[in-house]
Structure formats: structure tokens, C-alpha cells
Symmetry: C2
Subunit: 379 residues, 2 copies
């Protein structure tokens, strides 16, 4: 039994795992991950030659990074990637995820892998240009609660848009319910946002939520664009990351993509397993083509730290070949009292996502938006 068609360039991508246990255990587990993350087979079925010598993972180093935790850097041939998110996720954490006590801490892709990944279509610079906002943080408000009719949501959207916000997104709970059908909601909201935008003289992008089975999500995306939506909201935890990459790659669509973390929590809430927030909410969304990545902010009860948020922002915006930068966000019970703290952490390339707080006084929503924008400009 041969593997005579294997040809490896010698270029490898790196995956950093955090492993529970002693140094000896960490070394043993790292060695096993080299096998489990590639051939997942017992030694007697691994042929000598290129499979054993080149295809298997290689432990580049193992070092302690905390009490009973070791970082193991493994590398794998780039030929095992194919430019899709599914294969990237499988190759970095597919079987490892099942073991427990293993955390995906980082992914380092060489140019040979990155050339197949287009990344965000617009990114920070493209979205700023489209919104005509050169310097300040962006402001995005949310249409909620679930249960309102399209007209009621449009009424709210109109206030937000008159208030001058940059983006208005659906709540992730809005779908295609009989009491709030997708088409009617998108048509009504896009219409009033366009009208308000004409009055203010400022662009304002509406992002309907399109998650659902394929091809429904693609039909929703196309319909949204046709009805005047300026962006799209999607939950990769529900649709898979490749759905995001597919939408990002559609030249005919060409709308900014906002990613929401719905159903992704299991990957990050336990600190000794799952995926580091910088990878889950920073690198993966960026590789999939997110222009904006939403995740919970530290300090309001979610198991996220300030350091996690800093790591996410870095993964969103650090130089990565020619990939555009993704906007990190200040989201999750966000309000004006945290502007200084958030801009100190993120600088100005961040999107503030405002849900309920901006509506404390329901008769002055547009003024509350204007006030928040002034605070963002003056910070």
C-alpha cells in the first residue's frame, strides 16, 4: 500500500495548542495530536515514507505558559489546506476538539495558505470610505425586540437613521416569522432608512439578519440587496464559516458582512478547552471575510476578559499578508459610560453596537444617537 502521489513543498502552517497537565503529559499529547489531527490512525496503519515523514504534524516546541498549562506549536503541510474554512477548522481543531483539556490558541498561516483566502471584501478602510467616516469609531444600533411588526421596527429604524448612526442591524433573533416576514421587514426598514439618510445627508447601512439553511440564506442576501439593504448580518455558529466566505466571495453581492456570535459560546466559555477568543472572534471571522465581528465585551458578566478583547482586536487588525482589517466591536449591554474605556482599548477602529440603552427615553431616540455620536467624535 503506497502513497506514491504525495508531493510536499515543505511549507507548513502552524497551530498553537494549550494543553493541560505536566510537561511530560503535554509532550505526549502534542505527539498524539500530530497523528490525531492528520491521519487519526494507529501506528501500524501509517506507512513509512512521505506520510510518516511529512504529512503528519510535527511538534516544533512545547513550553510552559502557566500553572499546569503548556503551549505546543505544531506544524502541518500547507497542501492539507484547500482555501475553505471547513478544511481549516478540521485541520486545526477537528479531532483535537473532542479530547478536552486542549485549547486552540493560535493559527499561523504562511503566504502559501493565505493566497487562497481573500478575507474581508471591504474591511476597515473600505467600510470607512463607504460610510464617509474617516476617523471616529462607528456607531451601529439594533432593531429589537423580536415580536414587533415590520412597521414598528421601521419606525425605530427611522429614528436611528435620523439620529445619524452609521449602521442599523437586525437583532439576531429576527428571522422570517409570520408576524415579521423577512421581505416585508427588509423592504420597510430599508425604505425609511433611505428616506432618513436623504434628510441627514449621511450614509446609513441597514444589515438584515440572513442566517438560515443554504440556499435560503443566499436568497435572503440577494433579496436584501435588491430591497436596499446596505450590509448583512450572519451567525457562523448556525450556518458554518464557509457560508460567510461564500457570501464574501460573491462579487454580485458585495455587501459588508457583520458576524454575530450566536451559538458559538461553547467554543470559548471554558478556558481549558475550545478556542481562544482571539481566534474565534478575531482571526476566523477575518479569514472568512467579516467586515465587522461582534462578540461580548468584558465587564458585563460574560466570561471574556479585557485581555481577550485586546487579543481579538489584534487578530482583527494586525498585518496579515494583503487581507483587509476587520472591525472589532464594543458590544453587549454597551452604553455611553464606557466610551473612554473602549476607545482606550481599541483606539478608533471599532464599532459600538447599541441595543437597549440608547432607547432609555423612547421619545428621544434620535437625540440620544446624536449625543452618542458627538461623544464618539470628541473622545
Amino acid at each position: 500500500m503506497t502513497a506514491d502521489r504525495l508531493r510536499f513543498s515543505g511549507q507548513r502552517f502552524a497551530v498553537e495548542y494549550h494543553l493541560d497537565g505536566s510537561t511530560d503529559e503535554a509532550r505526549r499529547r502534542a505527539d498524539l495530536l500530530c497523528i490525531d489531527q492528520t491521519v487519526e490512525a494507529a501506528d501500524h496503519v501509517i506507512p513509512d515514507g512521505p506520510i510518516r515523514n511529512e504529512l503528519l504534524g510535527r511538534v516544533e516546541h512545547v513550553e510552559g505558559v502557566g500553572e499546569g498549562v503548556h503551549a505546543a506549536l505544531l506544524t502541518f503541510p500547507v497542501e492539507l489546506l484547500d482555501g475553505t474554512m471547513s478544511t481549516l477548522l478540521h485541520m486545526s481543531f477537528g479531532m483535537a476538539s473532542l479530547q478536552g483539556g486542549v485549547r486552540l490558541a493560535n493559527l499561523i498561516l504562511p503566504d502559501a495558505a493565505l493566497t487562497r483566502i481573500p478575507g474581508p471584501r471591504l474591511g476597515v478602510d473600505g467600510l470607512r470610505a463607504q460610510l464617509e467616516v474617516s476617523a471616529r469609531p462607528l456607531l451601529c444600533t439594533v432593531l429589537k425586540p423580536l415580536g414587533l411588526s415590520p412597521d414598528a421596527l421601521a419606525e425605530l429604524a427611522y429614528e436611528f437613521a435620523l439620529g445619524g448612526v452609521d449602521l442599523i442591524k437586525d437583532d439576531q433573533s429576527l428571522g422570517d416569522h409570520p408576524f415579521c416576514p423577512f421581505e416585508e421587514r427588509v423592504a420597510r426598514c430599508a425604505e425609511v432608512i433611505a428616506a432618513a439618510s436623504k434628510k441627514t445627508g449621511r450614509p446609513c447601512l441597514y444589515a438584515p439578519h440572513i442566517s438560515g439553511p443554504w440556499p435560503t440564506l443566499l436568497e435572503r442576501a440577494a433579496q436584501a440587496k435588491q430591497l436596499g439593504a446596505g450590509a448583512l448580518l450572519i451567525c457562523p455558529g448556525l450556518t458554518g464559516y464557509d457560508a460567510v466566505a461564500a457570501l464574501s466571495g460573491l462579487a454580485a453581492l458585495s455587501l459588508p458582512l457583520i458576524l454575530h456570535p450566536d451559538f458559538l459560546g461553547s467554543h470559548y466559555v471554558s478556558r481549558d478547552s475550545g478556542i481562544a477568543p482571539s481566534v474565534l472572534f478575531g482571526l476566523l471571522p477575518r479569514l472568512a471575510g467579516a467586515d465587522i465581528s461582534i462578540y461580548p465585551t468584558y465587564g458585563v458578566g460574560y466570561p471574556v476578559t479585557q485581555a481577550d478583547c485586546r487579543g481579538i482586536a489584534q487578530a482583527c487588525r494586525t498585518e496579515l499578508r494583503t487581507l483587509a482589517r476587520t472591525f472589532p466591536t464594543a458590544a453587549g449591554r454597551m452604553n455611553a459610560s464606557r466610551i473612554q474605556e473602549m476607545t482606550a482599548l481599541y483606539d478608533s477602529d471599532v464599532v459600538f453596537i447599541l441595543g437597549s440603552d440608547i432607547r432609555r427615553d423612547p421619545t428621544h431616540i434620535r437625540n440620544a444617537c446624536r449625543t452618542f455620536l458627538r461623544l464618539l467624535e470628541r473622545r
Copy 2:
């Protein structure tokens, strides 16, 4: 701002969460989940009337189920479901997943919700009929390792099929690599398996791995069927569960679906967050249309217990309206020494998945398969 189009039948589906903390904390968190899992909004933006009275989750009861753990049963209107897996996952665990210390323990769907979910196309009875195996556990072997050429894998497939196994599946690592292209692999393996099946006079289904972006996975499924594949292997952790439901719903395809847990580990490895194995590996696959659900077996180092496996099997096979039953599996470094233990646990409606062990003697693979089958018949 009104919600004048809301109409609720009063029928509700139930979600059981396990919550960390004291009884008071559990009650407080359950109350919050009623909001977070529906409108995810502050009190001042929730209008009085049907949204507050009917749309929000309701805590039906909270009770202690262990040291510092409480089970909270919440119900939600069935009108918030739409028959898709994305909406079901969002409604049961979308925002809850982000909190930590919350585990999705069970999902109870009334007929009003189940009528929109077809479930497995074949299930236990249909697959048994197709394989002409009325009573004994089924036997599935695995084509691996990654790195072998289509010819080398076909050579192995031929031995397995001559050995009389019921199913032969790709390893989840096999994709569409230059050294083992999907089309060539499926054509070669399906061809030799058909030839061997003719010799043995016994059906043997080949399940190629088709995970990938949509529409690639759909193209692979159609191509696989056309080339003679008798089943399909797919990883919902990579593709999303709706991809499984979509494949299951395609009458023109009509191939048994085998689900693999690749990349799903984060959901179950931490016992105080994520999703109970019975839901993750039993109920969700069945609702999505899996005929066979693969997951790690207890006793070989994965954080899975015997009770977990029993719970998975029950969710796979318990009466659930008219939904066909899904085969649970004995998988993960499985070998003949565990047959008694596995059939004591699962009874005969189980699929043994054999990876490396059946190939200990590479010159006697077909005999090893025959021996294993005899052991399954005699157990």
C-alpha cells in the same frame, strides 16, 4: 410601538438547562434566560402585551440536580421555530451559549414543532432493510490514512467488502486533495466495492466524505451518488446542521447519512457548559436526518461516560412522533474485545465503526472482518 400581528397558539416547546450556582442564582439566571433566549433586551424596550406575556420564555420549574447545579425547564412558543436546525439551535442555545455555566441538557418538542421536521430518511429499519441485516449490529470500516492514493484506498476497500462488512466510510480527513481527488477516489472505491459485493452476494454501502462549502457539498453528494456511493459522510460541526437536513430532504439523493463529530468537541467537553452528549450526538443528529451518528465511546480517553453513551442511544432511538430511529455507534479505537460490553449497552441496533484495529495483520484484513462479523452474529 406595537406588536399587533402576534398570534400564539399557546403550544410551547421546552428547553432544559443545567445552571451552575445556588438555588437563588439558578432562579435568577433562569429568569434572565427567558429574555436572553428570545428578545435579548432590557426591560424598558419590552412592550407590554403579547411579547411580554407570551413570547418571552417561561420558567416552568427549577430544581437541584447535583452539587451546585440546578435544572431549569423553560418553555417558548412553537411559533418561534420554523422547522430549520439554525432556528432550533438559536432558540435553544444561541445566546445562552455565550454565558458560561449553562448547559443545554434537553429539548422537548411538541408535535406542532415535530411535524415540520422529517427526521432520518431511512433510519434503523430502512437501513437494515437496505443492507439485508435484520438482527445483528452493523459493521462499518474506515478508509484511512490520509495520504494514500485512490488506488491504495480502493485496494483496502476491496478487502473490507470481500470481508462482508455492511458499510465502508471515508475517514473524515479525506477531502479533495491533489494526491487523492474526490471524484477519482469515489469512482475507484465504489467500483471495487460493487465488484466485491457481487462476489459475496451481500450489499455493502460506501460512504464518501462530502463536507465542504455549499454548493460544493451538494455537488459532491450528487457526484458520489452518480459514481455509485451508497451513503454519505458529513461533519455538521463544519457544515452546520442545516446542511445535513437539506441533504436528508433531497428526494433525488436519498442516500443514508452518517454524521461525524469533527469540530463539535467544544460543545461537550466541559460538563458545566455546552451541550449534553445526548442532545449533541443523539437528538440533534436525529432531528437533522442522520441515519447513523458517530461520537467517541467512553473508556478510551475522551471525556464521555457510559451514561453519556446510554443517553445518546436513547435520544437516537426513543419514540419521537413518527421520526425514524438513528443508529448510535460504537466508535473510537473500537475492537473485538468490546463487543459484549457495547451490545450490553446498546443492544443490537448499533453500528460498530472499526478504524485501525481490524488491520493489525495487513495480509488478513478480509478474514479479520469475517471474524468480527461472526462475533457480532454470535454475541
